[in-house]
């Protein structure tokens, strides 16, 4: 499981980034909301403390004033109102934004708002909050918590009251806390919304990027797997940077293909060069025979008699040369492979014939064995000849003087030609790099022969491999039967 996770490292990293983004966004929302709520609570808390203190002081001063007048209880309401308003004005002067007064005998008395912008004109009770003030006064009278916080859309109202049982009089104070819905608050909400939106967009973008990346990587991986078997395959186009990678890989494959094509052409020329050397020897013999026959014919013509056998000899030598030329011309690589089901042995024999003169010079015996009757396979005659010729020439070059090269043709599901020579088997290091381009264990070798031969076989749906199980150096050419 850990391996599977490690294999998707990039996706996990993206998922982690995404998760971190979500957490940061959530934390920001939580902290900012908390800060806003906290700030509002602090402001309301301060207001509550102010109105509680103001109500307490109003109650104390009211009680003191009442105590100074023996017939306070019998004093007319309007007279009490004047005295109490004087107290309210003096007390609330120290409490900015706080208004208040008294409640006695079922009436509001002594209302004042000294820190109002226009305190002389602000003499009427706040009608909107009157119900809340009455509720606070009643709560204080009943001995309950009188503090009231009424939250409005843009402001909060905090009220507190104190009751004096002896005088049956309550003092109350009230403060409006505005600025809870100030423009900055709205701005903050917008920022919060923008933050959440940005977080969501980043999450979606990250997920989309992760999915796209995973899809692209899968496509490239699959394409590279296919490339191992099919060199004509191209990586699929992908968007973004992965697309760049795919295009770069495709360009590299195309360059490699072109290079290999060029190498094959060079190898063909090289092989032809080697062939020409072999063919030159083959040509020399018929030409010598023809020269000898022609000289004899000249003598006989001077003597006035011509023997037909010398002409037959010339014709036979010409036929032999024609065969040689035809086989040489069959060595054509430019055209695409023409796969034809045909017997394998003639091709092996032709290859052997082409190197027979060189083999003879080196004292190497070339043997051809066909097991289990005639073996047929699908192949291009010219290309198989080139492959076998390569193998034969390699064997002969590696052996020097003397020895043998055996070609064993075998049928079955896949036809094969095993080319074994009398030389020792290749070392493990040599086997490993045998089919690499430009690798050669011979001095002056181009290192192309085996790589190109394998490629030629693969073009014919066949293969070329080294058989390490044999005592001697042994290559197996396989073809579709």
């Amino acid at each position: 499981m850990w391996k599977a996770l490690a294999g998707r490292r990039m996706q996990w990293q993206l998922a982690l980034i995404c998760l971190t983004g979500v957490l940061i966004a959530a934390l920001s929302v939580f902290l900012i909301s908390g800060a806003i709520r906290g700030a509002a609570q602090i402001v309301i808390g301060d207001a509550a403390r102010a109105v509680e203190a103001a109500a307490g002081e109003l109650a104390a001063q009211g009680a003191e004033r009442a105590a100074q007048e023996a017939d306070w209880a019998e004093t007319a309401t309007e007279l009490k109102d004047v005295s109490l308003r004087g107290i309210t004005l003096a007390v609330l002067r120290s409490y900015p934004g706080v208004e208040g007064g008294y409640w006695t005998g079922g009436e509001f008395l002594g209302y004042a708002f000294p820190t109002h912008l226009n305190p002389d004109q602000k003499t009427d009770l706040p009608e909107t909050e009157l119900r809340e003030i009455q509720a606070a006064v009643e709560a204080a009278r009943a001995g309950l918590d009188s503090r009231r916080v009424a939250m409005g859309p843009d402001q909060a109202v905090v009220i507190s009251a104190r009751y004096n049982r002896k005088l049956d009089m309550s003092a109350w104070a009230m403060k409006r806390v505005s600025g809870l819905a100030d423009p900055r608050e709205q701005q903050r909400r917008w920022w919060l919304a923008a933050l959440v939106t940005a977080a969501l967009v980043s999450i979606v973008a990250t997920l989309a990027a992760a999915a796209g990346f995973a899809r692209g990587v899968r496509g490239i991986t699959r394409g590279l797997e296919l490339l191992e078997h099919d060199y004509h395959h191209r990586l699929p186009a992908a968007p973004g940077e992965l697309g760049e990678i795919a295009r770069a890989v495709n360009r590299m494959i195309e360059r490699r293909e072109a290079l290999e094509k060029e190498l094959r052409r060079e190898d063909r020329l090289r092989t032809m060069g080697r062939l020409v050397a072999a063919v030159a020897h083959e040509i020399r013999n018929p030409l010598n025979g023809m020269r000898l026959a022609a000289q004899l014919l000249k003598k006989q013509a001077e003597q006035g008699r011509i023997e037909g056998r010398h002409l037959d000899s010339i014709i036979a030598e010409v036929d032999r040369l024609e065969d040689l030329v035809r086989e040489f011309l069959a060595f054509d690589q430019k055209r695409p492979p023409e796969l034809k089901r045909q017997a394998v042995r003639p091709c092996a024999e032709r290859a052997a014939r082409l190197v027979a003169a060189q083999a003879e010079r080196q004292g190497i015996a070339i043997e051809i064995e066909e097991r289990g009757g005639p073996v047929w396979a699908c192949y291009d005659e010219g290309r198989l000849t080139q492959v076998l010729l390569n193998l034969l020439l390699n064997s002969m070059e590696s052996q020097g003087e003397g020895g043998w090269v055996r070609m064993e043709i075998e049928g079955g599901e896949r036809a094969s030609v095993r080319v074994t020579d009398s030389g020792p088997a290749l070392s493990a290091g040599e086997q490993e790099r045998l089919f690499e381009m430009f690798y050669s264990n011979k001095p002056g070798g181009a290192g192309l022969g085996l790589a190109v031969s394998r490629e030629l076989m693969r073009q014919m749906n066949g293969d070329l491999e080294y058989d390490a199980s044999q005592e001697h150096a042994s290559f197996v050419v396989r073809m579709a039967a």
Binding site: Q61, Q68, A70, D71, A76, T77, E78, L79, D81, V82, S83, R85, G86, I87, L89, A90, R93, D120
Partner: protein, 202 residues
């Protein structure tokens, strides 16, 4: 025996304290009409004003204003406005007490005055009352109110300076004078308070 004696002494001390306070405030006797009670009160204040008279410019001003208030009270009473007459008489009574405190400040006989902390508290109370003076002055619409408010501030200043000089008697008495002047203003403002009317339908 000691307990009985203590109870008797306590009773003797409490009875005049309670009844005296009532009398001092001009409490109404049973069966007496409000007008008669008010007339008696005016007379009592006038008499007391004569008793406390002192040779001091500020005191003389206050005494003069108090006498004017008493005259206003009599006029209002004659017009049948008992409530208004009561306000003027109460204002005059407050000013009488103020003059009495000025007189006390000029006494040379030693007398026990409150501690410095209590003096500070008294000054704070006077200051608090002084803050109401402006409202009462505006509310009363009486031309004499301005002079009284000014006098109140002057006496507070005197009390404050006396406090700084650690003159306990002056600090205490002048603070009381200030308080009584503001009280007089308060009663004056009350006389201007509109009579209570039944509510109108909105």
């Amino acid at each position: 025996m000691k307990r009985v004696l203590a109870c008797a002494l306590a009773l003797m001390w409490l009875t005049p304290a309670v009844c005296g306070a009532e009398k001092k405030k001009g409490g109404k006797k049973k069966g007496e009409s409000p007008e008669a009670a008010m007339a008696q009160r005016i007379e009592r204040v006038r008499q007391r004003l004569t008793e406390v008279s002192v040779n001091d410019a500020a005191a003389r001003n206050l005494e003069s204003t108090a006498r004017q208030f008493l005259a206003d009270a009599e006029r209002e009473l004659a017009a049948g406005r008992v409530s208004s007459a009561q306000g003027f008489s109460q204002a005059a009574e407050a000013l009488t007490r103020a003059v009495d405190h000025i007189r006390h400040s000029r006494e040379t006989s030693p007398k026990g005055y409150p501690s410095r902390e209590a003096q500070a508290e008294r000054l704070e109370r006077a200051y608090f009352r002084l803050q109401q003076a402006e409202y009462f002055q505006t509310q009363s619409k009486d031309p004499r109110a301005k002079g009284l408010a000014q006098a109140g501030r002057q006496f507070y200043q005197k009390a404050r300076r006396a406090y700084d000089r650690k003159e306990a008697r002056d600090a205490d008495e002048f603070a009381k004078v200030c308080e009584e002047i503001v009280r007089a203003l308060e009663y004056l403002a009350r006389t201007a308070a509109p009579a209570r009317e039944p509510p109108r339908l909105k």
